[in-house]
Amino acid sequence: MPLIDKKLRDMRHIPEEELHAYLDQALSRSQCVEIESHLASCPPCRQARDGIAALRDRTTALLATLAPPRPIKPAYADLRAQAAARILKKRRIVRAVGWAASISLALGLGWIANSWIGAGPPPATAVAPLPATPVAMPESAPASPVEVPDRESQIRVASEPHPIPAPTREPEPKTPDASLAPATDRFQSVAAGIPTEPLRVEIIPVQQLAGDLPTAGLWRSVSWDGAQAESDAWIPRVEGLPVVTVQVQGDQQGSGKPLTVVAQRLSSGQMIQTVEGPIAKVSDLLSHQSGPTVTASVEMNDNSGTRQDDRMLAIYGSVPIDTLRAFLLKVR
């Protein structure tokens, strides 16, 4: 037997699965080099490789016959809107369940207390901590920052049913500008004045740094008067701050309120933006923002008294989150 044949026979051939992995490009570079150098000198392995390549191609071709018709891909934005609506719905359900649980607990406690005390009247305190409405701004709060606008619009800040101790955290230790301090303080005082219904403002994590406004859709900068006319006189913004720009997205044909972004300047020169519009659009816009963001849901009645759902309000800007929360309370 010639020496070369013996050498080939003794050579370890490449296992089948390794050839599959090699053809599937699932091996490291060094493994590929090793296999290729072996293939160069081993005709049986080359033959095996060709056989596996053919098998692989045939499998792919057979599987390709099992394909559905070309699917119609819905627009990404449509699916995003569905996802946003679901997130909101879930939050509402969680909130409702929380409320129900609190009421049941309070009633349960009341009943227990009642049975302990005897046949006397039920203690009034048993249900007292539960306010009647989610917007629990105590009337005694000094200069209540949430005032019901004179038109039929209301901002409902997300609220938690369970009492949380009033914030013990100090306001931002290094407030960059003195003008921000009163707002933060006001938020603190308001929160401290609500023993059972602290405000919970959701913080949306934002991963991306992008421009001010997403490119999708046509934005128009409008004058204050023009914006008021277009938005049916209500343009949400933080009261008491100078408005720099008002940008609007949406048609002017009266088919619903448009999406508005009001940019306002703090005395420190920093900018904050107040956004109001359909949930999908607002969340899409927020997904392009960096820095802290606070949101609230909006309830709105049109002239015929019909409730228009699925709108959302948000404030963002490169200022501390507590400051944004305070500003949210000052939105008119």
Partner: protein, 170 residues
């Protein structure tokens, strides 16, 4: 992350529909489920979106299969098959033959073990060996072995059915 998901959606949607179709055998349902998968991905923002999307797709398909069994609903390939190669010019005979071939192919796929089937379909959907390993619980090194076996068995099963068909016709 949002852009990652958007890119993934643009590049992978068709593969997810195909992956689901090969499990539920109903093109409309496969599209519905694929959309559901991406809506969930947007809601959860997973770290490894591609692997996540296929894992959820596999779970949805499994739930769907269980529900179908409960309802005793039998979808046949002939009823729901897409006929991607069908054209108006194709004769009725050709169409029947094409559908029979699809049916044999589907049976060949079902002849594989669930694990072999899963690995093969995930590979065909474009997942890498490490992604397949993570989803199926196999070691990365075992993916090649499984894929080698699955490919061989699929082709063998299909050829066996072709041979049986020829024998029956002659």
């Amino acid at each position: 992350m949002t852009d990652d998901l958007k890119n993934l959606y643009e590049t992978t949607y068709a593969a997810v529909v195909r992956f689901l179709y090969r499990k539920v055998w109903d093109p409309d349902r496969a599209e519905d489920l694929a959309q559901e998968v991406f809506v969930r991905a947007m809601k959860h923002n997973p770290d490894k979106p591609r692997a996540w999307v296929f894992a959820v797709a596999a779970n949805l398909a499994r739930d769907e299969a269980r529900a179908a069994v409960r309802r005793k609903r039998h979808l046949t390939l002939l009823k729901s098959d897409p006929t991607p190669l069908t054209s108006p010019q194709r004769s009725a005979e050709d169409l029947i033959e094409h559908n029979e071939k699809l049916e044999r192919m589907r049976e060949a796929l079902h002849a594989l073990t669930p694990r072999d089937q899963e690995v093969l379909l995930l590979w065909d959907a474009g997942l890498s060996y490490p992604e397949i390993a993570e989803q199926t619980g196999l070691a990365v090194g075992a993916v090649g072995t499984t894929l080698a076996r699955a490919r061989r068995r699929l082709v063998d099963a299909f050829d066996r059915q072709e041979a049986e068909r020829h024998a029956a016709h002659s």
